[in-house]
């Protein structure tokens, strides 16, 4: 079984540029999460989906961040007009709603905003 995949693995931007991160969850997983992990910190939940519906996006840092999952499979997280404070690793995770024990994480996208 293929794990959660993410792309790109790395991104370097100047402040003000836009960037999109892509996540392909484990096939059949109906719940998908995006986390932001600053250096030397734990992951912080940004948004999560059940199928194509946003369950909670209240932790998205600002209206510069948006996330979609239009067909309930792959998902895209976008940052408009990136700031240096957005420098972090962005993690995607997925699970089946019936699996209460864990989430399965992707390798992450490391973002550096100069």
């Amino acid at each position: 079984e293929a794990g959660v995949t993410q792309s790109p693995r790395y991104a370097v931007l100047q402040e003000g540029q836009a960037v999109s991160f892509w996540c392909d969850p484990i096939s059949g997983h109906d719940t998908l999460y995006w986390y932001q992990q600053p250096r030397d910190q734990g992951p912080q939940l940004l948004v999560y989906f059940r199928d194509e519906a946003v369950i909670d996006n209240s932790q998205l840092p600002s209206d510069r961040f948006s996330a979609v999952r239009p067909k309930g499979t792959n998902s895209t997280l976008k940052i408009q007009s990136a700031k240096q404070g957005d420098t972090a690793t962005y993690l995607c995770a997925s699970r089946l709603r019936t699996d209460q024990d864990t989430q399965y994480f992707g390798p992450g996208t490391r973002l550096l905003v100069l």
Binding site: D40, Q41, G42, P43, Y48, D56, T102, G108
Partner: protein, 110 residues
């Protein structure tokens, strides 16, 4: 909001020594999980342990829910145990939205 505090922040061991990692959390209505992250690697679940004691290999997790604490014990540490260990709580909303601690960075030297 939910708070998770882990200690120590970092730990250096000689191979073969034991490690005890601590996690304290703010809510009793939680589902607790321990994760491991190798440097540059993905997060991997070690234990789902909302209460009681669980073992796997050289790892033991003990959670005392009404005291809002959990521990992760690593016996006979190996260099391959090096990495960061995270404690995370889920306030049991039904959607498994985790709140993570800042982690304990473990380095095991040969």
């Amino acid at each position: 909001g939910q708070q998770v505090q882990q200690s120590p922040a970092s730990l250096v061991l000689q191979e073969g020594e034991n490690a005890e990692l601590q996690c304290n959390f703010s809510s009793t209505a939680t589902r607790l999980q321990w994760f491991y992250q190798h440097p540059g690697g993905r997060l991997v679940s070690l234990f789902y342990n909302p209460s009681g004691t669980k073992h796997t290999g050289r790892l033991t997790s003990t959670t005392v829910t009404n005291e809002r604490r959990s521990s992760l014990h690593i016996s006979s540490s190996q260099t391959t145990d090096s990495g960061t260990y995270f404690c995370a709580i889920d306030p049991d909303t039904g959607y498994q939205n985790f709140y993570f601690g800042k982690g304990t960075s473990l380095t095991v030297i040969p």
